[in-house]
Amino acid sequence: MPSTIRVLIVDDEDRFRDTLAKLLKAKGFDATPVGGAREALALLEQESFDVALLDVKMPGMGGLEALEAMKRLAPSLEVLALTGHASMDVAAAMLERGAANYFLKPCPVGELADAILQAVDRAKVAGSGE
């Protein structure tokens, strides 16, 4: 049996973050919501996660900077951008920094769940040795 997939939700909008955590938990994920990039980085120093859902526009440290820091701290973490910011330029910048997907709010929860599973699976195959 695969262990529960740990998902970190980084978003400054309280209501959205908590609703999303609730919906992902209902789908069987171990979802942890945090309100900003600093909090996320502090948590990543202590715990490991499989996938992070990262907002782009946040007060203080924004998504671009946060993504770089998160990847430095946890190179194998799969980061999916989840933002209301429909900008092609920002999407390109997030890709350069290692985002594995770019979702726009309100992405259907089912699609997010599929992308999380896909990212975990891909990481597993690529990480396994002969």
């Binding site: 695969p2 909008e13 209501r15 959205f16 609703t19 999303l20 919906l23 490991s48 499989d50 194998s76 209301g84 429909a86 900008s87 092609m88 999407a91 390109a92 997030m94 890709l95 594995a100 997907n101 770019y102 979702f103 726009l104 709010k105 309100p106 992405c107 259907p108 929860v109 089912g110 699609e111 769940a113 599929d114 599973l117 896909q118 699976d121 891909r122 195959v125 690529a126 990480g127 396994s128 040795g129 002969e130």
Partner: protein
């Protein structure tokens, strides 16, 4: 998760354990494995993004073809995601092949620039005030104030019809509330869990959204503007602010337009000043009622641009109220208007709560064609403390609500309204008590009348007496024939369990029943009116509906098979074939299509640009010298190019590795009677581990779950199947096709390599056999929701007509296997998903057989009949298509 990838740990361990000369060799192998897996990950990313982009393209095409409403915000989202995944495909390919792709990046940059030009447009509601007085409204402001408020303004300012004073809270007011409270994303998130066709999920999403709206505070600017408008209305009426009462009525964007949204939204009556804002929030929240969500999804409407405007108008102290259709909803062979009337306020007339008076009048001559006095046993009235439902005084019940003078006034208004709008109208009216100003007639709303599918008097009821009559009577809300089992419903709450194709039988009509309309064959209610909200939606959906049938709940039993003839207002025992046939035809008919105005709107134009940059595929032939990055024009071209080349890169990698010092190749030949030159690339767990180096593997060594299943059908058994027969006629036709002129696949050869890229749960099978190209991609694991088979097949050696027939034959087979299928010319693609692993395996075995079955079948597709014959023959279990002589 471990900190270092497993392969590094293993490589390190090997170095520790082995003697020096073997350590070097093992390290080389480990490095090659690392390099291979990095490239494989890039390949997987490329495939993932390819799938995402195909989804985006498919959505663009569906929205275009269906004429769906689409908002600018959503188009921006699609472009952003398209750009991300196009760039990710390029980046993945660069990682895969180790070379930069400047031409592709330039092409994508140009596409991005062109998209940005059309998508960056000013917000049309930027300068709209939060509130507008009714006097300033007219129908051109429908996008700002919603249909109901804009039309009320039109009646008032341009038609000079008497309407109550008031104001509208505009789309800007609604958006201000949503934005100030950060609700937009919450709403969309909740909607994302809604499953079309599952009313329980509508209810759950609706509750979460409505709670969020009702709990959110009023932004001070909006509250101040609304109260100021309230006070101004009181002053114009010569009333103190605390004496004025308003009706706060929904005026949603899109409501009262081509799609009526009849009764989906809330109206609050008799609202005093202190209740104005809470009432407004309740009306705003009703934008997301379960039935409204269901209605939107059933019509495939976008949730973009959804907004609740409201019309806040002075209450009319109504003596009598009702609904007028300026034209009988399905015609009577003449211009007749249809009027319903009840005592008191009009809510009971539209909700179907009491049996109203019915008046049918010839609009041209003014002759009363029919007058039926309803029982009107209850009435809704306004008093000092609010609304009260009371028994209608006995003396009033038998009295008509409307005298001839009032009917003639309605008739004059009907003529004026039809002349002004150029189409029949559905009008709400009220006659004020004499204490209220002049005792006059007021108009409360006017909207296009949903005429339904039977707008003429083309009677199509049952003409035979084959089935016994169980019940008779009632009013036809929507004519037509329906047959099915009875579903007795005590209230809309129990309708969740209504089975597909049932005839809904209920005590009262209610808009809440419309949630299950897509599953309903017909509707019968004991109470309700032809002008009610549910009846309007019945006509939109074309669902045969009879309302006001006395004794229906007692006279019919759960599950009983009946035929409803809403033309003749009769209910028969048993299922009449004519009704079943009518139902079958209705299911195949087109849904409602939006008005031309929608097709030409700015988002529509942006959609066209997006399609132009994303969708067309000009790079079709991989063997052509033009199949290069420089010739990629669209995102689809780039996808096609990279997808094709990525397979090539994977093959190159396998060759490269197999040529390495270790001689351990990744591409291994399969030893099995498949008739294919089939090579396997194992990405981990796809093959049984072997202590020996090998170039070929027997079928027994395949461990990949999906590949094993596919091989069950793909491997030919010479004992039972014998050799494939040769059809010379078809074969010569193919040769002829190749000899005359240009051939689409001239450079392709028989007998190309086929590849299976496998892991324990994954299979990507690509087969180039003869002149056709088939790809099957599959994930088959424990997670049901992740499991899928996608299959795409194209080409062939025969002429286009035969190739197209084969594609259609394959499409039929795929459909019967449970695939969702698309066929364009000689290309067929299908998707089968969200089944458990056992079912996926079962279908894979059939797909294996299909891959063999389709070989050269195009030559045999000599006529239209061969399409069906090909499909039928497959399901007899044969391994090749053998047309009957």
């Amino acid at each position: 998760m471990p900190d270092a990838p497993l392969h590094k740990i293993i490589a390190a361990s090997i170095k520790q354990l082995l003697p020096a000369h073997k350590r070097k060799q093992a390290a080389d192998e480990a490095d090659r494995a690392t390099s291979f897996r990095a490239r494989y990950q890039a390949f997987l990313q490329l495939l993932e993004s390819n799938t995402e982009l195909l989804g985006i393209i498919s959505e663009l095409e569906t929205r275009h073809a269906g004429g769906e409403l689409v908002g600018m915000a959503h188009l921006k989202q699609l472009s952003t995601r398209a750009m991300f995944h196009a760039l990710r495909m390029i980046a993945s390919f660069e990682a895969l092949c180790g070379k930069a792709q400047p031409e592709l990046r330039n092409t994508i940059d140009s596409i991005r620039d062109r998209l940005q030009q059309v998508l960056v447009q000013p917000d049309p509601t930027a300068d709209v005030p939060l509130i507008l007085p009714l006097d300033q409204l007219h129908r051109e402001l429908v996008d700002i104030a919603g249909g109901k408020a804009a039309n009320l303004g039109e009646l008032r300012s341009r038609l000079g019809l008497p309407t109550p004073d008031g104001f509208a809270v505009t789309v800007a007011g609604f958006h201000h509330f949503i934005q100030e409270n950060g609700l937009a994303d919450v709403i969309r998130l909740c909607i994302s869990v809604v499953q079309p066709g599952d009313p329980a999920t509508y209810a759950e999403a609706s509750r979460s959204i409505q709670d969020a709206i009702l709990e959110a505070p009023m932004p001070p600017a909006l509250e101040a503007a609304m109260l100021e408008a309230f006070d101004a209305c009181a002053a114009r009426s010569g009333l103190a602010p605390d004496a004025l009462r308003l009706a706060v009525r929904s005026s949603a964007l899109g409501e009262d337009g081509e799609l009526s949204h009849a009764g989906q939204y809330l109206s609050e009556l008799h609202v005093p000043r202190q209740e104005l804002c809470p009432a407004w929030k309740r009306v705003a929240a009703s934008l997301y009622s379960p039935q409204a969500l269901g209605y939107l999804l059933q019509h495939g409407l976008s949730l973009d641009g959804l907004a609740m405007c409201t019309a806040c108008v002075r209450m009319v102290e109504a003596k009598a109220s009702g609904v007028m259709y300026t034209r009988h909803p399905w015609g009577l062979g003449r211009r007749a208007m249809y009027v319903n009337a009840v005592w008191g306020l009009g809510a009971f007339a539209v909700e179907g709560r009491v049996e109203p008076d019915v008046y049918i009048m010839d609009v041209d001559s003014g002759q009363l064609l029919q007058r039926r006095i309803g029982s009107k046993d209850a009435m809704l009235t306004a008093c000092k403390d609010g609304l009260t439902e009371q028994q209608t005084p006995a003396a009033w019940r038998g009295l008509p609500c409307l005298d001839d003078e009032a009917l003639q006034a309605l008739r004059r208004a009907a003529l004026a309204l039809e002349a002004h709008y150029g189409q029949p109208q559905d009008v709400e009216w009220a006659v004020a008590h004499s204490s209220d100003s002049s005792g006059a007639l007021y108009f409360l709303q006017s909207r296009p009348l949903a005429l339904g599918k039977h707008s003429t008097a083309d009677f199509a009821g049952l003409t035979d007496e084959a089935l016994p009559v169980l019940l008779e009577g009632g009013d036809t809300a929507c004519p037509g024939l329906a047959a099915g089992p009875v579903f007795l419903s005590l209230s809309p709450d129990d309708a969740d369990t209504l089975p597909e194709g049932a005839v809904l039988v209920a005590r009262h009509s209610s808009p809440a029943y419309t949630v299950v309309f897509p599953r309903v064959a017909g509707v019968i209610t004991e109470h309700g009116s032809v002008t009610g909200h549910m009846a309007s939606v019945s006509r939109e959906f074309g669902i045969p509906t009879l309302v006001g049938v006395p004794g229906a709940m007692q006279g019919l039993s759960m599950g009983q098979e009946i035929t409803l003839d809403a033309w003749s207002r009769r209910i028969h025992a048993g299922l009449h074939p004519a009704a079943l046939e009518a139902q079958r035809q209705a299911r195949g008919s087109c849904p409602i299509v939006p008005a031309d105005a929608v097709l030409l709107s700015p988002p529509r134009a942006a959609l066209q640009t997006l399609r132009r940059e994303l969708v067309p595929l000009t790079l079709t032939d991989p063997k052509s010298p033009d199949f290069t990055p420089e010739h990629c024009r669209t995102v689809h071209d780039i996808m096609r190019y990279l997808h094709e080349k990525s397979y090539g890169e994977m093959f190159v990698i396998s060759d490269h590795v197999s040529k390495g010092k270790g001689q351990e190749g990744f591409a291994l030949r399969l030893e099995g009677a498949t008739g294919l030159d089939l090579h396997i690339i194992d990405l981990g767990g796809g093959l049984v581990e072997s202590p020996h180096r090998r170039r070929a593997v027997p079928v027994e060594d395949v461990a990949s779950r999906p590949f094993k299943a596919l091989l069950r059908g793909l491997i030919l058994d010479p004992k039972t199947q014998g050799p494939r027969p040769v059809h010379l006629k078809g074969f010569f036709a193919v040769l002829g096709e190749q000899m005359v002129g240009e051939h689409h696949l001239q450079k392709e050869r028989f007998g190309d390599r086929s590849y299976a890229i496998i892991s324990d749960k994954y299979l990507n099978f690509s087969s180039r056999v003869g002149y056709h190209y088939g790809v099957l991609d599959c994930y088959c694991g424990q997670t049901v929701n992740k499991n899928y088979i996608t299959f795409s097949f194209k080409g062939g050696a025969a002429d286009e007509a035969r190739r197209t027939r084969r594609a259609r034959g394959i499409a039929l087979i795929l459909e019967r296997l449970g695939f969702v299928v698309e066929t364009v010319s000689d290309r067929v693609s299908g998707r089968f998903q969200k089944y458990d692993a056992a079912k996926i395996e079962e279908v894979l075995a059939e797909m294996g057989r299909l891959l063999q079955y389709t070989r050269q079948a195009d030559m045999l597709m000599t006529g239209e009949a061969s399409v069906q014959a090909m499909a039928d023959c497959f399901f007899t279990g044969k391994c090749y298509f053998e047309p009957s002589p």
